[in-house]
């Protein structure tokens, strides 16, 4: 008998802890010069350093340190004047050195916070998520387990190793424990990850694509009786690959914990894996016996001691916080909440902003990107950002419509042409011979021709049956290959048939 969520929160208080791993978008890896481009042939982006050949040594990617400092500043952290890398020792085939270079007791950024706002029963409410640390580390390679049913190592016939990912710079953002969110815990967690994603994107330090793994969230959840002081036992859920999953995973874990606790059983401290299809988690490795990573300072790397003035240049260059930026745009554009949310969800806010900046009206810019262009992206099953059309193109098209040189219908053809790779809007217009027919003489000729072809319909209109006009207007548009302004055609047609 499954508990309802309401039963859970009536009795227990959830306490969260979130660990977010972010792959930085540096051109080269954390400790060597290898490329970081996603999706290359396995093991082609490797060298003696990231393969851990005997004798090879790491050197720190300065760009990665810069990015991490920017992240720390954007999350209101203090930047440590002196921090160190440490070795985290454990054996695993996809980790070439059999230790990971990470940071342990001397991380580069500490003690920050992020404020997130969510909709509650009492209206919008802000929650502060405190950040314990932001530190740098390197990613592992990837194992592909072949054979066996589950793609897991157990039962596999053999495993393939790809070290392209080994050494990609990772930043880990760890919150302090987050109590006090009550029933909103899942929404707060989701809003936090969304805010992080937006902040990181605005900093330009990561692709933040959850589905490609460049932003990964581990959600720690525990429950305690409402009013209790001591923390309950936590589980750590991995494989949470979308914002929606963050919410679902936490809700699911809260219910699972409550069921165990209600039965008088105990929650096992362990890693669990989120299952996208069921919304449930399954047990991974147990952490009951804490693994001993034998951390010690990485002797191959000198400590990181960023110059205070250098840090200040980054602080001065920080972009506006995305949440503030969004509010400002929403006010300036006078967009209703729902449409604003639609733009954010469709991930077009930045490009709409750019289009507006280039002179387009906010409403038109929004309707192009959310409407026609989103539709084409869906049809092609690609991200809008990957389509071959720019803010500049759309701004240009909007201007042409405003000037009466394109109709909405023609403009859609131009957009389609640009996306199809036929060139810039001007190229598409000239190649396809798209042109609004403004010449009344040419339109009148077409109207007379159409009326002669469909005398009964023309007669109906003459007799005052105006709805019939649509058919003739359509025929004229067809006659002029859609290049006429339909409103003008209507005007001329009705005049011709004595109705104006």
């Amino acid at each position: 008998m499954a508990l309802s969520y309401d039963d859970v929160i009536a009795k227990y208080e959830p306490v969260l802890g979130l660990e977010v791993h972010v792959e930085l978008n540096t051109k080269s890896k954390m400790f060597c010069g290898c490329s970081t481009i996603f999706g290359a042939e396995p093991n082609t982006q490797t060298c003696p350093v990231c393969l851990a050949l005997p004798g090879a040594l790491p050197t720190v990617n300065e760009k990665a340190i810069e990015s991490t400092i920017k992240i720390g500043l954007a999350l209101n952290c203090s930047i440590a004047p002196f921090s160190r890398f440490a070795r985290k020792n454990y054996f695993y085939p996809d980790m070439p050195k059999n230790f990971q270079i990470s940071q342990y007791d001397e991380p580069i950024c500490v003690n920050g916070y992020v404020d997130v706002e969510i909709e509650t029963d009492e209206g919008p409410k802000s929650f502060r998520i405190e950040i314990e640390r932001v530190h740098m580390e390197e990613d592992t390679g990837k194992s592909l387990h072949v054979g066996g049913a589950t793609g897991r190592i157990h039962g596999a016939e053999y495993s393939l190793l790809d070290y392209n990912r080994a050494g990609i710079p990772l930043v880990e953002i760890v919150t302090k424990i987050v109590p006090g969110t009550g029933k909103y815990a899942p929404e707060v967690a989701k809003a936090y990850v969304a805010e992080l994603r937006d902040v990181l994107r605005s900093l330009g330090v990561s692709d933040v694509k959850m589905e490609q793994g460049s932003l990964r969230c581990d959600a720690n959840v525990s429950l305690r009786l409402i009013g209790a002081e001591t923390l309950g036992t936590r589980s750590e859920t991995k494989n949470v690959n979308s914002l929606r999953s963050v919410e679902r995973a936490i809700r699911g874990e809260m219910i699972r914990h409550a069921e165990l606790l209600n039965k008088g059983e105990r929650v096992v401290q362990e890693t669990r894996h989120f299952q996208e299809d069921t919304g449930l988690t399954r047990s991974g490795r147990s952490k009951e016996q804490a693994e001993d990573y034998r951390y010690f300072p990485e002797p191959d790397l000198v400590p990181v001691a960023p110059d205070a003035a250098w840090i200040e240049t980054f602080r001065a260059g920080l972009p506006e916080r995305p949440s503030i930026h969004r509010k400002r745009l929403q006010e300036a554009w006078a967009v209703p909440d729902k449409e604003m949310a639609a733009m954010i969800n469709a991930d077009v806010l930045n490009i709409v902003e750019a289009t507006v900046y280039l002179g387009a009206d906010p409403t038109k810019a929004r309707s192009w990107w959310l409407g026609e262009i989103s539709r084409i992206a869906n049809e092609k099953n690609v991200a809008i950002a990957d389509l071959d059309i720019t803010a500049n193109d759309v701004a240009e098209i909007v201007a042409l419509v405003n000037a009466g040189e394109l109709t909405d219908k023609l403009a859609r053809q131009v957009v389609e042409g640009v996306i199809a790779g036929e060139g810039k809007p001007a190229d598409v217009i000239s190649k396809r011979g798209i042109k609004v027919v403004n010449d009344d003489g040419a339109l009148m000729a077409a109207i007379e021709k159409v009326c002669a072809e469909q005398p009964e319909t023309a007669e109906k209109i003459r007799n005052g049956h105006l709805p019939a006009a649509g058919a003739l207007i359509g025929a004229v548009m067809k006659e002029t290959k859609g290049q006429a302004d339909a409103a003008r055609v209507r005007e001329l047609l009705l005049g011709h048939l004595g109705q104006i």
Partner: protein, 497 residues
């Protein structure tokens, strides 16, 4: 020709009295004739060496400007990667591995047109003081083939003492350049930590490892030092500063007015009498050359050995984790159905020798949660105290000196079952590594009681490596005029060859 110094060989190459091919061939012949007795080499690159020698000769004929040691042959410790050449670090676990890249030291040797003859024997992963821990059998001391040539770089020093090479590269983590130099009657220098790039040096203990020159004269060591030192962007711990002018110092040898600090704690009880005799005699010669001898104290040196045997094993337990059969080297137990874990276990069981396993276990334990502070943490504090001892002492003197080792070369097998006795051999060399400063060992004569070489150690402050070359050159000159001929001319073991 093989009995000349590297500087003399270089001069003959310049004058046209000989060619690099002749010189290289002479050394290859010597190796062919004596190395079955000495076993200094694990791999001899006959073809590659002669090819490179011919190229250098061609450049010289073409009138190209060449580096000072161009065309002179060298023996490379097998812990340095050389592209395409077998590199084992003395371990079975790397048997057959040919690195796809050159270490920075090798790249610099090649850029200086120094001809690499081959790879020299060593204690497995540089862990040892006798070269008995090599997985490929021990090296024998050219002074007495029943004795050890020191370690871990026994192969490099023995090659010099047996005239199989005039120059060699060593690496020194706790004395692995200086102690072999001492017991073979040759010169070995551990430069300041960070002076020579570690890129391509197969790591034992990263915070202590330092490559350096091995030679038969102080000047030869200085020439090689300048060839291999310098900043390397591939090594984060490499010093970004000009290389000290060690060649000029070795040519000058002027110690007038220099203060030489005798370390109180590195003398006396536990040091063989003949070692002390030669050490005292060397001090007198330096005083006669115009230096002032003072006594300095380093009270924390007594903890150096214990701290070293926590730090070095801790780092090695992590550094050697990469030898897991997944990507290179030995692979054992890879049969149908075997898991990666069992292949890793079996390979490491079979591939590592006893001393290496002992240190991995020690280090794994010392880094374990709950023990870290007591072991690794305390050892790091001792390290700081040792550095402070050096700093204080260097306020009173320009260099510090001691015997390099408490004894002369012991017999092969004598200490191989007593690791502590073996570890004590490095008691005078380890503090230098702990503080990251420079150290040199040069021959001070023979111990009267056994007729075996004694080493004299000179320690100079960090980034002041030229000072040990000044003092070394002064002492070498004084001793040479006393002996009338280089010490190695008295080596009896290979006299017939």
């Amino acid at each position: 020709m093989i009995h000349l110094s590297a500087a003399q060989m270089a001069a003959q190459l310049v004058s046209g009295a000989t060619t690099s091919v002749e010189l290289t061939q002479a050394h290859l012949n010597r190796i062919a004739s004596v190395d079955s007795d000495v076993h200094a080499f694990l791999f001899v690159d006959n073809e590659g060496a002669l090819k490179h020698a011919a190229e250098v000769d061609a450049k010289r004929v073409a009138g190209e400007k060449l580096a000072p040691l161009a065309g002179v042959p060298l023996a490379l410790k097998d812990v340095m990667t050389q592209k395409g050449i077998p590199t084992t670090a003395g371990s079975k676990i790397l048997e057959g591995w040919r690195p796809p890249y050159d270490s920075t030291v090798v790249a610099k040797l090649k850029a200086n047109d120094i001809v690499i003859l081959g790879k020299t024997n060593m204690d497995e992963f540089a862990m040892g003081s006798s070269t008995e821990n090599s997985a490929y059998g021990p090296t024998h001391n050219p002074w007495d083939l029943t004795r050890i040539p020191g370690g871990s770089g026994g192969g490099s020093s023995a090659a010099l003492a047996a005239f199989e090479a005039p120059l060699a590269i060593g690496t020194d983590t706790g004395g692995s350049i200086r102690q072999p130099a001492a017991v073979t009657g040759t010169v070995g220098v551990k430069p300041t930590y960070g002076a020579v790039s570690r890129y391509g040096l197969i790591a034992f203990s990263s915070s202590l490892d330092q490559a350096g020159p091995c030679a038969r004269t102080v000047l030869d060591a200085a020439l090689l030092h300048e060839a291999i030192a310098g900043h390397d962007p591939r090594d984060s711990t490499s010093i970004n500063a000009p290389v000290p002018e060690v060649v000029a110092a070795a040519k000058s040898g002027n110690v007038k007015g220099m203060k030489i600090g005798v370390v109180k704690e590195l003398n006396g009880a536990g040091y063989q009498s003949g070692v002390r005799t030669r050490f005292e005699e060397s001090l007198e010669l330096l005083a006669a050359a115009g230096a002032e001898i003072v006594e300095v104290s380093a009270p924390n040196f007594e903890y150096a050995l214990a701290a070293y045997y926590l730090i070095a094993p801790s780092e090695c337990s992590s550094n050697l984790a990469r030898f897991d059969a997944m990507r290179y080297g030995l692979r054992v137990g890879d049969v149908d159905g075997a898991s990666a874990e069992s292949v890793m276990n079996l390979t490491r069981e079979v591939g590592f020798g006893r001393e290496v396993k002992r240190r991995i276990i020690l280090g794994t334990y010392a880094l374990s949660s709950g023990y870290y502070d007591a072991y690794y943490g305390s050892a790091q504090k001792v390290r700081t105290l040792i550095t402070q001892d050096f700093n204080k002492a260097f306020e009173k003197c320009d260099v510090m000196v001691s015997p390099t080792c408490p004894t002369t070369a012991f017999k092969i097998g004598e200490k191989s079952n007593d690791p502590i006795a073996m570890y004590l051999n490095d008691i005078a060399t380890i503090p230098v590594n702990m503080a990251g400063i420079g150290g040199m060992s040069l021959p001070a004569g023979l111990a009267p009681e056994d007729g075996l070489p004694v080493g004299f150690q000179i320690m100079s402050p960090a980034m002041q490596d030229q000072r040990m070359y000044l003092v070394g050159a002064a002492l070498e000159a004084a001793l040479l005029s006393k002996w009338g001929a280089p010490l190695l001319s008295q080596a009896p073991a290979l006299a017939g060859k």
